[in-house]
Symmetry: C3
Subunit: 324 residues, 3 copies
């Protein structure tokens, strides 16, 4: 696809500096950009790269225009406008409504004609698939599951047991949604399984990463609210609730029944123990372990900076002696 600088300016309400006829057909970094590429600048760290860029167009703030050796698109939030231009030039793929002849749609399943169902995918009898849904190959969707309009379930995803999925949701390969939570009662003869009878509710505009697991509720539902972003390999335990527009990075683990507020940002490898409440607008830095409620918005941390091993060993020895 090709757009002129003028087209982009009109589309996104930006000002043009330079020739509105300049054509853009790709995006690139400041350093790798060539003729026909658009890039963006928003961080003074890259000032020298901006000065030398071979891009045809740079998206930047008006206050940075003097640094820019080429045509420019001026706006308040260059990264956001750049992201919208990426989506314009490289849209997510489109699919016609179609059921692969290698898919299995069980009797009783309700699949909108506009939806695509890939090969080796199975749609169970109590499943409803809304309009313009894409379900790629190798997926298992069964057991009272609804997938609302315009969602994309990429490949090899498993969704089972009373799961409602909203509109425009994206679920990446290997994710498992609605499997039993980890519920066990100790008895004199070992563990007794607590049958898990809740479901999972996933709002609109949620994205779920590869191999992430979201357990069904033990009794009430596990809930992922609108606009949540989950990266890869995240564990979401039973009855957890994640508030609107919260983002969680890879390999974090949220234990059962914890409630996380809106607009939180939780870094990679963070652990949150069970039955915790975290208020809105909390940011948690990488690998911190959250063992009690957080009631005040702000930034929280709990992991140590690494050291050379010999320095670390001395620090640890000192720490352990501090108890004496």
């Amino acid at each position: 696809m090709v757009f002129s600088l003028g087209d982009l300016a009109v589309k996104f309400g930006c000002d043009v500096v330079g020739n509105p006829e300049t054509e853009i057909s790709s995006v690139a970094t400041l350093s790798s950009a060539k003729e026909g590429s658009l890039t963006f600048y928003s961080n003074a760290l890259y000032k020298e790269k901006l000065k030398k860029t071979n891009a045809s167009v740079v998206v930047l703030k008006g206050s940075d225009i003097d640094l820019c050796p080429v045509d420019a698109l001026l706006c308040e939030d260059p990264y956001q406008i750049y992201t919208k231009i990426v989506a314009l030039l490289y849209p997510l793929p489109c699919y016609d409504g179609k059921v692969s002849e290698h898919a299995l749609i069980k009797n009783g399943a309700n699949v909108a004609e506009s939806s695509y169902i890939g090969e080796f995918t199975s749609i169970g009898r109590d499943v409803t698939i809304g309009e313009n849904v894409f379900i790629g190959p190798g997926c298992i969707i069964e057991g009272n599951v609804n997938v609302a309009a315009n969602s994309r379930i990429i490949a090899n995803v498993t969704i089972i047991n009373s799961v409602d999925i909203g509109e425009r949701v994206i679920i990446h390969p290997g994710a498992v949604i609605g499997a039993d939570g980890f519920g066990n009662v100790k008895t004199e003869n070992g563990w007794l399984k607590i049958n898990q009878i809740g479901g999972v509710k996933i709002g609109n505009d949620v994205e779920i990463g590869s191999n992430t697991t979201i357990d069904r509720g033990s009794l009430e539902d596990t809930v992922i609210h609108n606009g949540v972003r989950l990266d890869n390999l995240i564990q979401i335990g039973h009855n957890v609730s994640i508030g609107e527009h919260t983002a969680i990075a890879a390999s974090a683990a949220i234990a059962g029944s914890s409630k996380i507020g809106k607009r939180c940002m939780i870094a990679g490898q963070v652990g949150i123990v069970g039955h915790i409440n975290i208020c809105d607008d909390v940011r948690i830095n990488g690998a911190a372990v959250i063992t009690k409620d957080i009631k005040k918005p702000g930034v929280y941390s709990g992991s140590f900076p690494f050291e050379e091993d010999k320095v670390w060993k001395k620090l640890v020895a000192k720490f352990r002696r501090s108890n004496k």
Copy 2:
């Protein structure tokens, strides 16, 4: 399903307070319970909720009966009895013996007639599937694998290479059992793969969570003993042994050749390095890193409580200066 209070009392050997004809058709929390619901009470934290519950029946200890505004079932361990009632009202689904016409059973595979094999599931030629086994859709089972009676392999599970699975085992979606362990020898030309020739033995009554990985042994077997509970996204390295009735929470990682005793409880994100021995009845708190043997039953910890970031930064600075 509907049971009377009297039925439940007889079935589980409890005493009734109130009308034995009271009918129960669902379970719920103290707060969400309505007419026809049963709930339980065992933690004084919820005393006020008990007093206001709209449940038809509460399972509790005799000593708490004065707090209970409705009919009751009296017993020593309310949570255990409640869990058994959940299993009665919401049993795991039953399946007739059947092989989906979209499954592939290879020549030489031995599948009991009473077992169910789902669509897009492949059973290899050296595989034996016992009586009343449920193997859901999308599973790959191959390479000298035995699955004993009454086990349930939910969906999209991969089991390969000399794996024995006991009776009444449950394996959740995305789990991988019997893949090669991480065995490499350093050479002048980089890493040399150590071909992994052991298998995996899984006892009876084991439950394995979604996307958990259990590697085959390098030489001898990886062993998961009877009654073990593994949550989601857990790594079990080659030659590990997990003792009877041990439970491990999500995102823990057990490196190769470590041996864990019986009845241990290992919290989420715990890491256990290789070649470690942990005795019976050990409890390890969340995110601790276990770098040497544990020879005494007890509770062990190793992760720091988080702080507000600015407080944490000061603490860390002080810690790093402690070495001077």
Copy 3:
């Protein structure tokens, strides 16, 4: 398979002590070895086990020969020679070129005749599969993917979106390669997805563990260089680069755009934040969190040794008071 001691000595350039006609048909540990077994000795910790071994042959250094009660194969690096003998006695399985009648090869896909494609595996129209490749059952390979000669993709693997895979690569079940990275821009209306348009390049002789996820680049490629070893459940974010012969153990997480040098050894559960550079020959101990560049080869650490819980609580209390 059976080899004589003399055969092995010739094949690997070792000296024989004992009878060159001695036959070897299996490998075992020092303790479990029986007649016909070969084992190795390289660690003085096991001296007593060596003295009592029932193996037919032990691979060891010439300087240890006096401890050995049976025939021996002498060499400089016993573990390496042993590993090569394991590969000789227990080779990876061979497959004839064949496409399962239950596989789906889409029009336009290019699959070498010598390659094997398993049941319920789908090969997309822009995919090229080189000579002698094994792609097991349940795999989804689509979207401009190339797999070069002699690679093995075991089962239930998902590879999508502009992924190049080198020769002799092994990918274990559940791995996901080429899914979208975690790219989001904050806006007044929540998160805006950054369409991910880079790919993944995987060199030769790479091994990738079960349920590991390697995201496609956001703009440029994610790159795994020749000879890299990745264990299970590892997260590799978008635009990461892992240098030649680096090995990473299970459950580690490398955030977006970090660059890791050659021959590094990164232990389990290590976290590396985004946009970090780590030089060659760095070793990072378990569960350390790497928050800034490492510019000097060496060993680095950052996790605390665990303690009995009551001791740990006192240490932590003291630490928290240190700020006062």
